[in-house]
């Protein structure tokens, strides 16, 4: 099963990457208020139960994949084992 983690910079933390991307888009004529850039991490685990797969991912997130001081995360199932 493939599960994924979406990691975003906390709202109160200045996201320099997002700011640079926003400025580039604005200078290219796109209308936008702001932009934030995060990370998307896919992990394949040997697990057929989605809850258990997500629990494994949560452990990895808390171990290293995100830093709670500066980031938040969300998880999702990308592909079940039966697919």
């Amino acid at each position: 099963m493939i599960v994924a983690l979406k990691v975003m910079p906390r709202r109160e933390v200045l996201d320099t990457q997002g700011r640079a991307v926003a400025e580039s888009l604005q200078r290219s004529g796109f209308a936008l208020e702001s932009c934030r850039v995060g990370k998307y991490i896919e992990v394949q685990v040997e697990e057929s139960d989605p809850d258990k797969a997500l629990e494994k991912l949560r452990e990895m997130a808390e171990y290293v994949l995100y830093n709670p001081l500066i980031e938040t995360f969300e998880m999702e199932v990308v592909q079940g084992s039966g697919q």
């Binding site: 200045l14 320099t16 990457q17 700011r19 290293v64 830093n67 001081l69």
Partner: protein, 217 residues
């Protein structure tokens, strides 16, 4: 007999030779510690974690290095009161290992900064570069991710406990409260973004960095 100090190296560390020479120049006896090593903390008078780009700064600067086997021994050393200095990427590694408070983010300017900066001592630490609070040193910085971040509550806590070590006179990277270096509550584990090992001789542009290594005995 000169004091043994451990210099910890990860894949992608690149200030290791500079740090080794600065330590030797200060009369210390440096030894390499590899990221896969386990070691006996009490064998060392201090540990030095150099700058560089461990693991190519992948995921977050210092994040992967902070979870290598050698860091188990570094953690034990911190618990046993062995002084530990992390410089630049070493500072990022110590924050990621939660041996120091806060985190280091990309510079506010979005650019790598390479310059000489003045630092003011906020709280002196017995194991490191003692001196009077308010005294200043002139050291080089060279980093892309040097913006020290800690939330308001955390900032108040480290201010109250005297954990702010050095502040920039002129902030080069957008760090909260101009913070250039912090310590743990014991004052033995410290981290600094500027590079004292690059300022140990006049031909380098100054030798204010010497005092950071002379204090170890």
């Amino acid at each position: 007999m000169s004091a043994r100090v451990g210099v910890v190296r990860f894949l992608g560390t690149n200030c290791d030779r500079d740090l080794w020479q600065a330590a030797e120049g200060a009369g210390l006896k440096p030894e390499w510690l590899w990221y896969e090593d386990n070691f006996e903390p009490m064998d060392y008078a201090a540990l030095l974690i150099p700058g560089g780009f461990s693991y190519g700064d992948y995921l977050r600067c210092g994040a992967l290095a902070a979870r290598t086997p050698v860091m188990k021994s570094v953690r034990k050393a911190a618990q046993q009161g062995v002084p530990i200095l992390g410089i630049c990427n070493g500072f990022q590694v110590l924050c990621e290992a939660e041996l120091l408070p806060g985190a280091l983010l990309p510079n506010q300017s979005g650019r790598f900064v390479d310059a000489w900066v003045e630092l003011k001592l906020e709280n002196s630490k017995d194991s490191w570069a003692s001196g009077r609070p308010g005294s200043s040193v002139y050291l080089p910085v060279a980093h892309g991710d040097g913006r020290y971040h800690i939330n308001e509550e955390g900032l108040k806590a480290i201010e109250d406990r005297g954990q702010i070590w050095w502040r920039y006179s002129k902030n080069p990277n957008g760090s909260v409260a101009d913070i250039a270096g912090v310590s743990d509550p014991s004052g033995k584990v410290v981290g600094l973004m500027p590079h004292p090992e690059r300022a140990v001789a006049e031909w380098m542009g100054g030798q204010d960095g010497l005092q950071f290594f002379k204090e170890i005995s």
